[in-house]
């Protein structure tokens, strides 16, 4: 493939001479990368590459690196072991029962190298494109398109008035008002009792003099008012009262003139 400018570190060429070994293994992105660099050194299309020659190169390279006491990472050694196996398998008479066959393993390795090479070239061509900030330029400080959010407060008259109502309610002193309950007043009882005394001659129970025919609380109010009225009339000397004992019925009749 066509050589393209790279803006990253150039891939080291295959080590054809001793001094190439000065390179540290850090220059490669793993064993596959090193294999690709060596393969490119064969200067033929990856499709025509001799896998056997490539294996030889790799094994030699690793061996020399170790002689020079370079750190050789484990994955490079694993690859070396696998390639050593592949080499012997390729060199031995073919065993038709062996699966996968060494030829198939070699083909897979070749396919992998082709794919890595394709992506390596693609990366170089990508980085060589007209890039923003290097080859083409955009406006450094555009005004920008802005969406300005304008807050709009919302409240109804009801919200306002009910809020005020609650403020008033909170701030006014709390007044307890007892609602007006229906009662029989003392005046009414007095009036009624005087009228009844003119009719009844003999002793009669207080309950016979109650105004109206009430039940419940109103009857109790009538009893209380009539009792107080009876006491008042007795004080004026207009009625006689008698009771046989505590909590016994109260009797009354008009006083004898």
């Amino acid at each position: 493939m066509e050589e393209l400018p790279l803006d990253f570190e150039i891939v080291p060429a295959a080590p054809e001479r001793e001094d190439a070994l000065q390179l540290s293994l850090d220059s490669w992105e793993g064993p596959l990368d090193l294999l690709l660099a060596l393969a490119r050194g064969q200067k033929v299309d990856l499709k025509q590459i001799s896998i056997l020659a490539l294996v030889e190169q790799y094994l030699t390279f690793i061996a020399e690196a170790r002689e020079l006491k370079l750190e050789v990472a484990a994955d490079y050694l694993v690859m070396a072991a696998w390639l050593a196996y592949l080499k012997s398998a390729l060199l031995l008479p073919k065993d038709p029962l062996e699966d996968p066959s060494p030829d198939e393993l070699a083909l897979r390795l070749q396919l992998r190298l082709q794919r890595l090479a394709a992506m390596r070239d693609a990366a170089a061509r990508l980085l060589a494109r007209d890039r923003i900030g290097r080859d083409v330029f955009i406006r450094p400080r555009p005004e920008g398109l802005r969406d300005v959010r304008v807050r709009r407060w919302d409240a109804s008259l009801y919200d306002l008035l009910s809020a005020y109502g609650q403020v008033k309610l909170r701030s006014e002193p709390v007044v307890h008002m007892v609602s007006r309950r229906p009662v029989i007043t003392l005046d009414a009882a007095l009036h009624h009792l005087q009228r009844m005394l003119g009719v009844k001659i003999d002793w009669a129970e207080l309950s016979d003099f109650l105004p109206g025919d009430y039940d419940g609380p109103l009857r109790r109010s009538a009893i209380a008012s009539s009792f107080v009225a009876a006491l008042e009339l007795a004080r004026q000397g207009r009625v006689d009262l008698k009771q046989d004992g505590a909590f016994e019925p109260l009797y009354l009749k008009a006083a004898q003139a």
């Binding site: 802005r146 304008v150 407060w153 919200d159 306002l160 109502g165």
Partner: protein, 197 residues
């Protein structure tokens, strides 16, 4: 066909993060150009863009590209963001409306709770209240009143349209039924006020 020098100057003006004068441009071109020659080219560029959506304008001898002022509305779009007025703000607004002009201390005395500055700010932002001078008492506190915008928003002709206390009572707005609930809400508002402040 636009000539190379014109293209180059146009691109420089476009890509520069500050306005450029003719001397700076001549310097960058590195040719034997006088600022006068550069200026002539700049004017050609400006004329080419005249009436388009991009303008080349001069400010104090420096040139830069910008968008025409009459298109500003397209570049800065305003959007409504409706917000419901908080309970606390509604109370403060009502107090100002019923008692105006009124100071913050007076509002607090009526509400019986502290009022954050943020609440008054919200009402001013809504343009429903405005400062109405200062109370001539020690400390000369600011006093507030409602605005015409307030009357408009709430559909009132004047402040006299606001119902009296008896009307509120008749309408059930002074009903204590919700008191406990409202008090609970009032506390929530207080918490919010605190957060706003």
């Amino acid at each position: 066909m636009i000539d190379d020098l014109e293209r180059a100057i146009e691109a420089m003006l476009f890509a520069s993060d500050e306005a450029l004068d003719a001397r700076q441009i001549a310097g960058r071109l590195g040719d034997e150009m006088t600022p006068g020659q550069v200026k002539a080219i700049i004017e050609t560029i400006a004329a080419r863009h005249a009436g388009s959506g991009i303008e080349l304008v001069e400010r104090g001898g420096r040139w830069h590209f910008q968008t025409p002022a009459d298109l500003a509305h397209l570049l800065r779009r305003e959007r409504d963001d409706p917000r419901k007025l908080s309970r606390a703000a509604a109370e403060v607004l009502a107090i100002i409306a019923y008692h105006e002009p009124v100071s913050r201390a007076e509002i607090e005395a009526i509400r019986g709770v502290q009022t954050s500055k943020g609440t008054l700010d919200v009402l001013m932002e809504a343009e429903w209240i405005a400062p109405a001078g200062r109370r001539e008492v020690p400390g000369r506190p600011l006093i507030y009143k409602t605005t015409d915008a307030f009357l408009q928003h709430f559909g009132l002709t004047s402040r006299k349209d606001l119902p009296g206390i008896e009307d509120l009572r008749a309408a059930g707005l002074l009903d204590p039924v919700d008191l406990a609930f409202e008090e609970a809400m009032g506390e929530l508002d207080l918490v919010k006020d605190g957060e706003e402040a």
